[in-house]
Symmetry: C2
Subunit: 479 residues, 2 copies
């Protein structure tokens, strides 16, 4: 006991995994890292153009406004802003939340709202309330990469339902629910990002929204609607959120200030019926007692200015230009066999490359060229899916960076395509130079990809909906 | 589907528990509310003197400093302060944490530290990493009321080891570990607040600290040291934290800025060896992605001023006066049979009343007199323990409030004592007027309370260490 700490700290050998492994909870065996999170460290290097993160552009937030609000807090309510607050959050924060939801036509009861430490905690607390190990969770394919670690940490069995241009395929969801019925199982929840989905950028059509809500009500099935991007629409008619269509009986709503104001304040919320909310509040108490009162005061002061919607509109305008720039760059620098979505809002494009390209391997090469993206696999729970796709973020980088970033990715893709052709020359392999864009024209609206016979592949035998890719509009290759 | 939301919102009947109960996770059946949290709503009423919360006095934090720091952040790093950050926290925040731990003689590796959303999340993430349902957790009796909901939410079997004036009884801990050995079980962790414990106010002696660390090292047992109050010492010699004695092999450390700066910024931390930290980071990703970057910048700017320790010293001085005031008020207004601890630091006094008084019932009466405390039961996982004790906070109220609050509680206690004596008059019941302070003199250093035969009692048959009360120094009753 007399040995000084700095001496003992040297016993690296005594600190290896073996000693602790036996103590770890079972959940740690299936807990996964979110690729985005891992990439943050790498992409912090200034020379790296990161199209990986889901970062809003916080540089556009007026520093003067920020300073003025904080000064007001310091002068008028410093003691309260630095103190503990109620677990449910301040009523004033809930007023702001109700105002934001009202902007999309929703009318939640104040009592049904809890302020959370970002939308991520809302998802975690909902799962904490509903999920036992082995329970079934249904979500989109691909799904929000940050939701995958939550479902895994609660040891859920996650079933992913394919998306097409109109979002989650409700016919496929219906089939999944029927199958589960026959097995005597009932999913605890269906998780969906209906608008400008992360990562696919697609939006659930009005007709499908109605069908999904009807399904939920007829089957008494809980739907978790995660809607961080709904207000970031670049054009066209807004669609009613699922929560509005349902009225809040079976749709649990997750919202956040991260994409309309700031992720750094870690303020999100959940809206749930009283019996569920009661459990969510208990879960929140154990998780972190309450949400930051300082950042709640910040939001209150900011909303008091009445300019929050104008700022959101300015972000949407900014992101629309960046989406156009990224789409143009993709046409110029990606090979003819590549396809991508064209979101009408939000922050992400989902690009799909020839099947012989593994975007996990591609990322390593891309990072050597100082550019980053999120490999498609991180949007799937099941191994082997999304291997030839990638999530590209257009909100966090300027247009010049986007052009250069896509150019660099396009170059490493081109190298892979050439390598593949060199190895398969004359074997009439798909995507051979002689047939530019052939697959593209052949692809039906919800094509199933076949496992590639290309090199460097190690696909597990495909299941019925293995490796489904999103449909796309074929772009003229102007490169 | 065409029915407008506001109409459907009226279907209260359709939103009752039955519909959702079948969907709740098993853990919700044992999840508990933290009494402190529930009390926050009630005690928010301005007329209530709350000695219930664990609130530091944030009114002493200089508003000018606050405003200056925030203005600096707005001018120099607004975009970063509003953006996502790394899951582990900023290196600059970790520098501040290492400085705080250094002030108590600890030398953690920067890589062993993760910034969390308050100390509460650190406890939650450690349990997330280690606890499966049915696993054994050992903690103090009484223990931090906010830790009870965490242990319950992970469905741990919690065993509480009695405290006396020198903190957790290591001989009793040893006996518990022996018993578990014979049962072929191994506790996943021992949770302790060694300094100025919440709620008891007692401090683990140096000799017991050494023995606890020896136990941990010889049994390869993880100890979680929760040390929010260590720097709030009113006098006497500081004791080395368990982490310092162990060097960080078997002691996982939990710290927070809540009691030395502000709870409203929700900044705490955990220090753990790399294999454990790796899992904690995964857990944090799923829980809330990262800790507020805005409040991390606030801490960085605040520490850059180099005055943080002077502020902590000013808090300790303030709280020392309030402790003295509360002790004096207890002598004046509590009955001779009442006992209490006299902490040398921190924020809490633990008072124990005659056994025929149930502090749960007493709280209802106290709230009618606009005064609140935390009933002792909330510091025990096992029902029926701590029934005649209460936690009193002296950091969050001014000296006048403390005097008045204790006077009001003393009055409702006196009513209960009179009622009891009226009902048991002449039956030689303990605490009868004829024998003021008798029990006090009789009480050995670790007396076991016997279940009372008094009215209004519903004690389950006592276990071997059922209803143990803390020892105390008998005070002259000057009232």
């Amino acid at each position: 006991m007399e040995e000084p700490p700095h001496r003992r700290r040297a016993h690296a050998g005594s600190r290896d995994l073996q000693r602790y492994a036996g103590l770890f909870a079972e959940r740690t065996g299936v807990m996964r890292s979110s690729a985005m999170r891992d990439l943050m460290a790498i992409t912090a290097r200034p020379e790296v153009i990161s199209l990986a993160g889901g970062l809003p552009d916080t540089s556009t937030f007026p520093a003067a406004t920020f300073a003025a609000q904080m000064t007001r807090i310091a002068q008028e309510s410093a003691a309260e802003a630095l103190q503990y607050g109620p677990t449910e959050g301040f009523a004033a924060t809930v007023d702001c939340i109700v105002e934001v939801m009202g902007a999309e036509g929703m009318l939640p009861d104040h009592d049904d709202v809890i302020v959370t430490t970002g939308g991520q905690q809302a998802i975690d607390l909902i799962c904490k309330t509903l999920i036992d190990p082995g329970d079934v969770v249904v979500c989109e394919a691909p799904t929000y990469p940050g939701a995958v670690p939550v479902f895994c940490s609660y040891q859920a069995e996650t079933i992913q339902v394919d998306c097409d241009e109109d979002g989650m395929r409700i016919d496929e969801l219906d089939a999944v629910l029927e199958r589960l019925d026959r097995e005597g199982r009932r999913p605890k929840l269906v998780y969906s990002v209906p608008s400008f989905q992360n990562p696919a950028g697609v939006t659930l059509s009005l007709e499908r929204r109605r069908r999904l809500v009807e399904l939920a009500r007829s089957r008494e099935l809980l739907v978790v609607e995660d809607n961080p991007y709904g207000l970031l629409r670049f054009g066209g008619e807004p669609l009613p959120p699922l929560y509005q269509l349902d009225g809040g009986d079976f749709v649990i709503y997750v919202g956040t200030f991260s994409k309309i104001l700031s992720p750094g304040i870690r303020l999100g919320w959940a809206v749930a019926p009283p019996p569920v909310m009661e459990k969510i509040v208990l879960g929140k108490q154990a998780s972190d007692l309450c949400t930051s009162t300082l950042t709640q005061h910040f939001v209150r002061e900011y909303f008091a200015e009445g300019r929050w919607q104008a700022y959101v509109d300015s972000l949407a305008e900014l992101y629309r230009g960046r989406r156009d720039t990224m789409v143009e760059a993709l046409r110029r620098h990606f090979p003819p066999q590549a396809t991508w979505t064209e979101p009408e809002g939000g922050m992400f494009i989902w690009a799909t490359l020839p099947e012989f390209i593994d975007t996990g391997d591609l990322l390593a090469k891309a990072l050597r060229e100082d550019v980053a993206f999120v490999p498609g696999q991180s949007a799937y729970v099941e191994d082997g899916r999304g291997r030839n796709s990638m999530r590209l973020n257009f909100s966090g980088s300027g247009e010049e960076e986007i052009r250069e970033g896509i150019r660099r990715i396009g170059n490493v893709v081109a190298e892979q395509v050439e390598l593949y052709h060199a190895l398969t020359a004359g074997k009439g392999a798909e995507g051979s130079p002689g047939t530019p864009g052939r697959e593209a024209e052949d692809v039906p609206v919800d094509v199933k990809a076949k496992p590639s016979s290309g090199p460097g592949h190690d696909l597990t035998p495909p299941g019925p909906d293995e490796g489904a890719v999103l449909p796309f509009r074929k772009k003229e290759n102007t490169g």
